[in-house]
């Protein structure tokens, strides 16, 4: 056997934040990139352009097109794809008990969370942006809806991925809780009134779409500034809480 003392002596070192983000990003990206996951979610995402094409074939109005993008694209495809990648970014490592290989290192916690969220966003972005924007294009309802859809999708993507990364750090059954948030909270309870809708990300993405297209959607009355700033603030807060939680939770 080789003498391990021949390895470089490295007392009291730590990994710089940038390097830690990069290391986490690469390892989480590789962990998340499974063929089954990519194919399955891409098939799901196909629902959006398929629905857009169906609507476009029927010469639908701009109102119908916006409603389709808001419900199928921003209400279903975007949050669910974000949940799968965002939640699994650190949730899978927790479940596999391999988080210890990142946690027990001379690194700060926030770069781990940021790197994981970036990896999740890297995989979520092409699937969601392409499919949802394609849906908007295929409705044939004009350029306004396409630009608004792109803008709303990007803002929603950032917020959803960060929030679901927090779910993955905090909750053991992050997928079930995430689904409950998407289907029950956003899809059901938040429809009940403007008050609860404020704590549903869907309202902000819908508001962006409304601002860009001029179409009237229910519970989507925020100004563009609010609709952009609040999701970004939520994203930063989610990552901060995730980093705090990662520092303070038990690791298996």
């Amino acid at each position: 056997m080789t003498d391990v003392r021949s390895t470089p002596t490295v007392k009291g070192r730590h990994v710089a934040a940038g390097a830690a983000v990069g290391l986490t990003y690469r390892i989480v990206l590789r962990q998340l990139t499974s063929r089954g996951r990519i194919i399955g979610l891409s098939l799901l995402a196909l629902i959006a352009p398929l629905s857009g094409w169906a609507l476009g074939s029927a010469n639908a109005s701009l109102d119908d097109a916006v409603r389709l993008v808001a419900s199928v694209g921003l209400g279903l495809v975007l949050p669910i794809v974000s949940l799968v990648f965002g939640g699994a970014a650190l949730g899978d490592l927790r479940e596999d008990k391999t988080l210890v290989y990142l946690w027990l290192r001379p690194m700060d916690r926030w770069p781990i969370v940021v790197g994981a969220a970036l990896a999740a966003a890297t995989l979520t972005a092409p699937i969601t942006i392409i499919s949802i924007v394609a849906a908007a294009v295929l409705t044939g309802a004009g350029h306004g809806i396409v630009a608004g859809t792109l803008f709303a999708t990007v803002i929603g993507l950032i917020a959803y991925v960060c929030v679901f990364t927090l779910f993955g750090v905090w909750l053991k059954r992050f997928i079930v809780w995430g689904l409950a948030y998407i289907l029950i909270w956003e899809g059901f309870i938040a429809q009940a009134g403007a008050g609860v809708a404020r704590v549903a990300l869907r309202k902000y993405t819908r508001s962006i779409l409304v601002d860009r297209t001029g179409v009237n959607l229910k519970l989507a009355d925020f100004s563009l500034t609010t609709a952009v700033v609040v999701p970004l603030v939520v994203a930063v807060a989610a990552l901060a809480i995730a980093a705090w939680r990662l520092s303070n939770q038990d690791i298996d």
Binding site: M1, R5, K11, V15, L104, D250, D252
Partner: protein, 332 residues
């Protein structure tokens, strides 16, 4: 470990309700210092008021399954905080001090690796996350250390349990740790690899590192060295050299086999002189139990000359680790 702390362990463990409240002990110091540590999971007490200090060399943490060994290790690495008390590693709090984590390594008990990575990539990743300057070279050296250099390019997901165990040990070496904590590291290894691994641990200990190895297999621990920490039901039961611990067990008779040309005659004299508390005979041996092994040792040769019997063997039968463990943990 230059020397274990003054007896923080008592023998046998005190029964509940015995004695008054313990005086607050002075904080221990060492490469690893565990001071009055308890850990509760809800109503379950996993570790109860444990104190010890460990320095360089190999020390075995011994205890039956569920004794609290892994919980103690997790606290030493900062993976979970103590409910009470404090843990210091190299003088720092392992849970909150970022940089000390670069000087410590853990081989976790669970069989979890990043299965999609090759062994070389996994070790390179481990080296990079420790901020090692030359991660590729370090990874290859660590792989060679555990005799896995030839399978470096293969995914660890395809490895046998023994190979995965060796990958975990190699990953724990990439940062040249001053403190190495190994939770059941010999599980799944074949006898040859087990021997290699034990030799590696000794070498690491001889280099001045603090090597703490847990096991519930007594045979393994005996090979790891004589310094042990014995834990049972979450409490530290004993610490020190297990041969010294055997000496401390003065309420328990030593069993010794004496080979002789005339067992019956020798046995009669030993009983007459009150040197044994029990014995049995066969054609060539006397098996004696004695509470005063020193007196027996001093007088045995003289007696044999005096009565004209020849001695062919004097062997202690219960100063091994298993005997100590049975006494401490199982009370028999």
């Amino acid at each position: 470990m230059s020397e274990l702390p003054p007896p923080t362990a008592t023998l046998p463990p005190p029964l509940p309700g015995q004695g008054g409240p313990p005086a607050a002990p002075a904080a221990l110091s060492g490469m690893i210092a565990v001071n009055a540590v308890s850990k509760f999971f809800g109503s379950v007490v996993a570790v109860s008021d444990v104190s010890f200090a460990v320095n360089d060399g190999v020390t075995a943490l011994l205890g039956p399954n569920g004794a609290g060994k892994s919980t103690l290790f997790r606290m030493m690495c900062g993976l979970t905080p103590p409910s009470r008390g404090s843990v210091e590693v190299l003088g720092f709090d392992p849970r909150n001090d970022r940089d000390v984590r670069g000087r410590v390594s853990l081989v976790p008990q669970q069989d979890a690796l990043l299965d999609h990575l090759s062994a070389a990539s996994f070790l390179e990743f481990a080296a990079r996350t420790h901020g090692v300057a030359n991660p590729e070279q370090t990874a290859m050296q660590a792989l060679a250390t555990v005799d896995l250099a030839e399978v470096g390019p293969k995914p660890v997901g395809q490895f046998s349990k023994g190979m995965r165990q060796r990958v975990k040990v190699a990953a724990a070496l990439v940062n040249d740790p001053e403190v190495l904590i190994l939770d059941e590291p010999l599980t799944g290894l074949d006898p040859v690899q087990r021997r290699h691994m034990i030799a590696l641990f000794h070498r690491l200990g001889d280099e001045g590192r603090c090597v703490l190895v847990s096991s519930h297999v007594l045979d393994e621990v005996a090979k790891l060295g004589s310094r042990v920490l014995v834990i049972a039901q979450g409490r530290l039961v004993a610490s020190g050299d297990y041969r010294d611990l055997r000496e401390l067990m003065d309420d328990r008779a030593h069993r010794i086999r004496i080979g002789t040309s005339d067992p019956r005659r020798l046995a009669t004299v030993l009983v007459d002189r009150g040197l044994v508390s029990g014995l049995s005979l066969d054609a060539h041996n006397v098996l004696v139990d004695t509470l005063d092994v020193d007196s027996l040792g001093r007088q045995l040769a003289a007696i044999s000359i005096e009565i004209g019997v020849r001695l062919t063997e004097v062997s202690p039968l219960d100063d091994d680790l298993e005997s100590v463990f049975r006494y401490l943990v199982e009370g028999r």
